[in-house]
Amino acid sequence: MNPFKSKSERGKIHELRFLPERCDYCGCCVAVCPVDCIELEAAKLTVDYGACTLCGNCPQACPVGALVGVAA
């Protein structure tokens, strides 16, 4: 189970963490990011943390818990 996940992820988060070993490069996170700050090359994912607004969308959409929101 995911140590960072909790119900309070719905909505704003305090910190965003990427766990590359879990990532399947499926693009769900990119699809729901309102500020387009995630780049997904074939098997390389980069988050522009400077542009991220910590909206909490991508941890909700990630099917495998590779992007996790640390609750405030």
Binding site: C28, A31, P63
Partner: protein, 391 residues
């Protein structure tokens, strides 16, 4: 091998991109089709079910990519009541790796240049007009000019956003999915099997699609706003534990499906979007293969026509949004309304309806009998759900 300029550049070689490339090339345009992965058709982020009718009207059927023939849908209610609805020649489970490759090959045959390991990392814009793409190859970056750029870049599409369109999805209109290919399972039916229920897949459903005698695509999708601390993989682990505790996992994959209303605009100055990139999926069933193919053909034809007529401004390309909407807009809007209704239906209501239907003798389970039975009880909505899955 690659030129500095093409009439049409298509980003993404899924079914939507390959069909667009084929029809743009057949219409006389010079076409470049770019795919970031190293193989067209891999990885397969799909349960591979497709309706027979639409497929046959857009591509020549080929046994090399048909894995299994389907003759019905089996529904399982939240409390485990099961009933089948049978229809002849309902559809197929594809072998998408081969199917996608075949569509890519058809684009090449039509004259398009196809290239893999070509990641498009941005657009060339002049004023607001899209004039080409920036491509990252393994050995460096290159700018390539185009009159029209088509974003067929799937669910993770950014082409529209680079061109200033808002194409990101709201959580409630996005299904977060996880799927495994199971081996060593015994499946006695030629039905696709759908399971509903809040504990199974909140805001979505779980599927078991037979791919052969002992192989099946087994997965589920949940509405991204409903995950409540559990993600799609957690739900699937639970489902497998309950239904297939001893099966082997031959492949596993994560993925997402748009479950949205049609976008207001799928074109801009020098740019068009198609397939998942344009939310061209059925919001209720999550099916997107046939939509991608159909819209791809239209998109390619419009691109070729505009190149020929010498105009690719926003106004010139508006015909694409208009024709998509005229052909498929209402169907997508209806499916969206149904999806919204289904997501708010209570488990008990589904259980009650399933109970009524399960009492129908199998030979009376034609759509018409099911229809009249549910009408005389409620909720009639179940009928609409089934219709969606059977079309």
């Amino acid at each position: 091998m690659i030129r500095d300029a093409y009439d049409v550049i298509i980003v993404g070689a899924g079914p939507a991109g390959s069909m667009t490339a084929r029809y743009a090339a057949e219409g006389g345009a010079s076409v470049l089709l770019l795919e970031k992965d190293r193989d067209i058709g891999l990885p397969v982020r799909c349960a591979e079910a497709v309706g027979a009718k639409t497929l046959a009207s857009y591509v020549e059927l080929n046994p090399s990519w048909i894995a299994h023939q389907l003759s019905g849908v089996r529904f399982t209610s939240p409390n485990g009541i099961t009933f089948d609805v049978m229809t002849d020649n309902l559809g197929y489970i594809l072998n998408r790796r081969i199917f996608d490759q075949e569509l890519g090959r058809k684009a090449a045959q039509a004259g398009a240049t196809v290239l893999t390991r070509a990641y498009v990392c941005g657009l060339i814009l002049r004023a607001d007009q899209v004039c080409g793409v920036k491509v990252r190859f393994p050995d460096g970056e290159k700018e390539i000019a185009a009159k029209i750029v088509v974003g067929a870049d799937g669910v993770e599409s950014r082409v529209g956003r680079w061109a200033g369109m808002r194409t990101n999805f709201a959580l409630k209109d996005f299904e977060s999915c996880y799927q495994v290919m199971l081996g060593g399972v015994s499946l006695e039916t030629n039905c696709i099997h759908c399971y509903f229920g809040h504990d199974v897949a909140p805001g979505g459903y779980a599927w078991v699609f037979p791919k052969g005698a002992d192989v099946a695509n087994v997965g589920l999708g949940i509405a991204a706003d409903r995950s409540d601390g559990l993600n799609a993989k957690d739900y699937l682990d639970r489902f497998l534990e309950k239904n297939f505790p001893n099966a082997s996992i031959l492949a596993c994959v994560a993925g997402g499906v748009p479950a949205a209303k049609p976008l207001k605009k799928i074109h801009g100055p020098g740019v068009m979007l198609v397939g998942d990139a344009a939310a061209h999926t059925n919001p209720l069933t999550g099916g997107g293969i046939s939509n991608a193919i159909a819209a791809g053909k239209l998109c390619g034809e419009v691109a070729a026509r505009c190149v020929k007529q010498g105009g690719w401004s926003e106004a010139d390309l508006a015909v694409y949004t208009k024709e998509y909407d005229a052909n498929w807009g209402n169907h997508q809007r209806n499916s969206y309304r149904l999806k919204e209704a289904v997501h708010h239906i209570k488990d008990e209501t589904l259980n009650k309806a399933a109970h009524i239907l399960a009492d129908l003798p199998p030979e009376k389970r034609t759509m018409l009998d099911v229809f009249t039975t549910t009408l005389s009880h409620e909720p009639g909505i179940l009928i609409d759900i089934m219709r969606s899955f059977l079309s």
